[in-house]
């Protein structure tokens, strides 16, 4: 199917639409940053963007390369510390965060630490939590934007770096994580997914135009449910695409991926 937008553009639009106006979002570089910038220009002018290293509410001139580079507080309202940002999350004042990982399981738990089964001698050593575990523990709603394949959507993680719903309903609270927090949406190149209210397992909420449910299941390494009212993802509007291409990422740093 020849679409007037790319899978990346659709994913960024879905991520942006998930962000309500007047909320706070702790974002990283790349797709999350592009989604927040699109949301601010499209429907959420009062979305407050926070960067983990201390940047608060910048007017981003270009895509930052690092969560700590000087763009993350360019014309911002504050340049503060990492603790101050994380403690804003810990106090309950940060609504959204975006995370990723090498692996994600049915409960939205993430692995960004290692591939293999020997911790001391990993097959592939990855960077580790960084701030991901912190943000996933402390922000109200966690969004993941990722490509969708069986290598990534696995039944069992090699390492549980960052908490999703852990083992299901009530497990986060039992572990001591703040009540009411947890995974919210997974946005992939095939579908938008959420979590079942009682099992806390991932389920398909909407299929992207032209994508069949069986295709999503085939790309997922665990049993994947679907919402009762399964819908089709709304395609990017002309205005969303214009903002994305002309204002958010004119150099196609992200869109070119």
């Amino acid at each position: 199917m020849n679409l007037p937008y790319t899978p990346m553009e659709l994913m960024i639009c879905c991520a942006a639409r998930a962000l309500e106006d007047g909320r706070t979002a702790a974002v990283g570089t790349g797709v999350p940053c592009a989604a927040a910038m699109l949301a601010q220009r499209a429907h959420a002018p009062h979305l407050v963007v926070l960067f983990e290293a201390g940047g608060v509410a910048p007017q981003l001139p270009t895509m930052p390369i690092s969560v700590g580079d000087s763009r993350t507080f360019y014309r911002g309202l504050m340049a503060t510390s990492m603790s101050d940002i994380m403690e804003t999350c810990q106090r309950g004042m940060v609504d959204y965060t975006f995370l990723g990982g090498a692996q994600i399981d049915a409960f939205g738990n993430l692995n960004s630490t290692m591939i293999g089964d020997d911790y001391a001698r990993p097959k592939v050593r990855l960077p580790g939590s960084g701030g991901a575990n912190d943000l996933a523990s402390l922000c109200w709603r966690v969004l993941v934007v990722t490509s969708h394949d069986r290598r990534r959507f696995v039944d069992k993680l090699d390492f549980l770096t960052t908490p999703g719903y852990l083992t299901g309903l009530g497990a986060r609270e039992a572990a001591g994580l703040p009540p009411g927090t947890g995974p919210y949406r997974v946005i992939t190149d095939l579908a938008v997914l959420g979590y079942h209210e009682t099992t806390r397992r991932m389920e398909v909420l909407s299929l992207h135009p032209g994508v069949a449910l069986e295709q999503v299941r085939a790309a997922t390494g665990f049993a994947l449910g679907a919402a009762e009212e399964l819908s089709t993802t709304i395609a990017p509007t002309a205005e969303e695409l214009r903002i994305l291409r002309e204002e958010v990422d004119p150099h196609r740093y992200i869109l070119g991926r």
Binding site: R121, G128, N133, D134, T162, A174
Partner: protein, 335 residues
């Protein structure tokens, strides 16, 4: 689910507040001239087997000259605090598996190996997958809290992260219940690094420091570290500090050495001064793929140069640095 009461990882640094106090009792307090060279500071203040922490975040505001000097002087078996340690960790790894012994021996990992959006360092991966470096897991905030506990002079602080995960299982943290509310918390042990290096915008010769932009964990790090090397973009007169004391964020009595290193965060970013040299960082990542080529590259850029200013000259010198300054101020975009 069952909650593990304590992580299985090893604690690399002593969290005792009393033993830290005993050390700080003997730390000099006098307002004395601490201006020196990076080479002298590293020779005097960094010992083999020390636990080292580096200020900044990602490639922003890194004390790169100190990291190079640690390699040149062949320091061995260091511990390291890796909270979004990117280029600094990559460079320190050059002291492992390159025929120069073992610079890094143990790492508190929150984020290492990666250079954020730029990708993973092939050599840092080799080092961390080799088995010759021991490591335990933490998170960025957990390490910041550990430094904050040390800065406060208490042996631990509670937080609400890491709970329920393998990150906790592979850490040296513990689970406690709040004595007031019963809420379950993670207890994070104080981290007093033996030695830390921080790059700042301005300092006087006594070590009073000014930082612009985000401070990351550096204000706590400066207070938590037993020994502290400060590198600064510019040395400023003490009169200037006294004119605006509210701008001092690190006081002189925390500081053991002050080194003036213009462009000292290169190839990293220095807020309001110069942007990161992305081409050089890309080249570094590319050359690491081939161990022999990497050894030659290190000879040309680190081991075979006398000091940091020679490194800057080999990387394009003033014209390149002027271009990075224009990038920082977006002047190259006509703004």
């Amino acid at each position: 689910m069952d909650t593990l009461p304590r992580g299985e990882g090893e604690l690399y640094a002593d969290p005792s507040a009393d033993r830290a106090r005993a050390f700080f009792a003997s730390k000099p307090r006098a307002l004395t001239d601490k201006l020196t060279t990076v080479a002298e500071a590293v020779a005097r203040l960094v010992a083999d087997r020390d636990y080292l922490a580096i200020g900044g975040f990602g490639v922003a505001r890194l004390p790169v000259a100190v990291v190079h000097e640690v390699l040149r002087q062949g320091k061995q078996d260091l511990g390291f605090a890796g909270y979004t340690a990117t280029h600094d960790f990559q460079v320190l790894c050059a002291g492992n598996l390159t025929g120069r012994g073992r610079t890094l021996a143990r790492v508190d990992v929150a984020y290492v190996i990666g250079l954020e959006a730029r990708g993973l360092s092939p050599h840092a991966r080799r080092v961390m997958e080799s088995g010759e470096v021991a490591f335990v897991e933490w998170t960025n905030y957990a390490l910041a809290v550990r430094l904050k506990a040390a800065a406060m002079g208490v042996p631990f602080l509670p937080a609400r992260v890491m709970l329920g995960t393998d990150t906790f299982r592979r850490s040296a943290a513990r689970v406690i219940d709040c004595p007031f509310t019963g809420e379950r918390l993670v207890a994070l042990p104080a981290l007093y690094p033996d030695v830390a290096a921080i790059h700042v915008h301005e300092a006087d010769r006594y070590g009073n420091c000014r930082i612009r932009g985000t401070t990351v964990a550096d204000l706590d790090l400066a207070r938590a570290a037993r020994k502290l090397i400060v590198t600064c973009e510019r040395l400023i007169p003490n009169d200037e500090i006294r004119r605006e004391p509210d701008r001092t964020v690190i006081p002189f009595f925390c500081v053991d050495a002050v080194c003036e290193v213009p462009f000292g965060s290169y190839p990293g970013n220095m807020p309001y001064e110069y942007f990161s040299d992305e081409a050089h960082l890309r080249r570094w990542l590319e050359v690491e793929r081939d161990p022999d080529a990497y050894r030659r590259f290190l000879d040309e850029h680190v081991f075979g140069v006398s000091d940091f200013s020679e490194y800057l000259r080999r990387c394009g010198g003033l014209p390149r640095l002027q271009e990075l300054r224009r990038q920082e101020f977006l002047l190259h975009q006509g703004r």
